[in-house]
Amino acid sequence: MTQEHKKLICITCPRGCALDVTMEGEAVIKIEGNSCKRGVDYAMGELKDPRRIVTTTARVRGGVHPLVPVYTESPIPKPRIFDLLAEIRKIELKAPVKFGDVVIENALGTGVNVLASRNIPAKSEAS
């Protein structure tokens, strides 16, 4: 079987290692260029089931800001990102929101929760 090379850039940390993955059909033969074990995990994931942490904002009523930043507590499948964004756009939270509050549980059935990234105090609380 012929071997094929795939070039990836690991996004696990700011170092951004350039990975060279040797494939034979679907099978990964060799991963080179990584500086740590996480590079191997990233390459395997990226080839079979690419995922990303998604960060965006959700609407808040009665808070010191009209939005609260939110994030997925672990990476979700890349093809579902825009579905998730549409889901988050539908909701409106009520202040106060606390850091770590679950904004959406088991988003899109991925098993991943969407959490608030910070506190948004209610408007009267803050003054």
Partner: protein
């Protein structure tokens, strides 16, 4: 309630300022105040809603506000004073701080140690001299980031981003998430100026084209941006004629670099390095002015917030130690006063601990001659610390007296000593 005098005042409540304030308090500084321009703590992290923060320090991949929240929560438990929604408008080299806010009015305070943590500011259109008309729709990437992530509105629908810095690439993804079209990212240099991981997860993931060696030749549009004209650049950074392209868009974002914000540092007389744009600092993060420290992007522009936090911690620890030493020295010094028939005494102040090492000589001149035997007496109020006999004193002849080491305990009790010359 604000105090008249602090051990440590920190200007700026971003990651550097928060870390400095926390560490100063933990190191033993008694009163710590943070002055912040925004209405809340956290600085620019509050608008950096993307993840990637904290991998070095917490071994966790956190969004910016979550990273900030950890320090905000820690600060809240430490009884650190905060003055929010306030401008520090001047600081002197003697560490006198002037600030003003809607809530406090105009206030003045002294501090034993000062931490400069004002961060940095984005380069604007004016600083890169972009030709063309001056329509609405030209923003720095950070301004657009604040609009979208905190204030909740979109500055446009079709974007071109100039500069491949991290903020620019992150905004390209963010705007795409919010339904905008990012037509192009242009980079004048032959290489990416931000992190490679951001090129992958912000541009490649969403098919946003990046063109290296390209820049904006001019902005087109009268009331609002209608398009930009891009051009390719050669190795000498000169535009290559014939490579111009008109890219229709309604908004141009600039991600063209950051400059440390040092107006206050200058007012305090702090020397600045022309290369970094920030203060010259020693290994304690102390500037050229004793007692004035600096940390974070105000010193030089970092690419990871984790390192900013570490600089803040180091700076806060040393600022607290400086303040503690100042306070201790303050109690250790005794003032020397001229009493009856003494014009002046040198030295003017004496370190009480110096007597542990050796006797200390005082020198003085009398005001009037006394041509008969006298006592030269060193007094702590009514308590005599030591005395010496002289047969006469004259203004033209300097008088000496030594405070012996045996007077160590007596001197410890004094805050002021006076020297007098009286008849025996």
């Amino acid at each position: 309630m604000l105090k008249q005098k602090y051990d440590v005042i920190v200007i700026g409540a971003g990651p550097a300022g928060l870390a400095a304030a926390i560490e100063a308090k933990k190191t033993g500084a008694q009163d710590v105040l943070v002055i912040e321009r925004a209405q809340e703590l956290g600085g620019i992290l509050q608008q950096c809603i993307h993840n990637g923060f904290g991998l070095q320090i917490f071994k966790k991949d956190l969004p910016g506000p979550a990273y900030a929240q950890r320090f905000i929560d820690e600060l809240a438990g430490l009884h650190v004073d905060t003055l929010l929604d306030a401008m520090a408008i001047n600081v002197t080299s003697e560490r006198h701080v002037y600030a003003t806010s809607r809530w406090s009015g105009f206030v003045e305070m002294d501090t034993r140690a000062l931490v400069l943590a004002m961060g940095c500011r984005e380069r604007t259109r004016a600083q890169i001299a972009l030709p063309g008309t001056r329509p609405a729709g030209v923003y720095t990437a950070g301004t657009a980031q604040r609009f979208v992530n905190i204030e909740g509105f979109m500055p446009g629908k079709r974007f071109v981003i100039l500069g491949s810095g991290d903020i620019g690439m992150i905004m390209a993804r963010r705007l795409t998430f919010e339904g905008a079209k990012v037509e192009r990212v242009l980079e004048i240099m032959p290489f990416l100026t931000g992190l490679t991981r951001n090129y992958v997860q912000c541009l490649l993931d969403y098919d946003i084209p990046l063109q290296l060696h390209h820049t904006v030749k001019r902005i087109i549009g009268n009331d609002r941006v209608e398009a930009i004209e891009s051009v390719q650049i050669d190795e000498q950074r000169q535009p290559i004629p014939g490579t111009e392209e008109t890219i229709p868009c309604d908004t141009l974002l600039l991600s063209v670099g950051l400059i440390p914000e040092n107006e206050l540092s200058r007012k305090a007389g702090v020397s600045l390095d022309p290369v970094t744009g920030g203060p010259f600092v020693d290994e304690k993060m102390q500037t050229s002015v004793p007692g004035i420290f600096a940390a974070g992007n105000v010193v030089h522009v970092y690419d990871l917030v984790d390192w900013v936090t570490q600089a803040g911690l180091l700076c806060g620890r040393n600022a607290a130690q400086y303040a503690i030493t100042e306070r201790k020295n303050h109690g250790r010094q005794v003032k020397m006063k001229a009493g009856d028939n003494v014009r002046y005494v040198v030295p003017h102040v004496l370190d009480k601990e110096s007597l542990a090492e050796s006797a200390q000589r005082l020198q003085m001149r009398v005001t009037l001659p006394i041509e008969e035997p006298v006592w030269v007496e060193v007094m702590n109020g009514e308590e005599r610390v030591t005395r010496k006999a002289e047969l006469y004193v004259r203004p033209g002849e300097m008088v000496n007296i030594d405070i012996p080491q045996s007077a160590y305990d007596a001197v410890q009790r004094a805050s002021e000593l006076s020297v007098r010359v009286v008849r025996r």
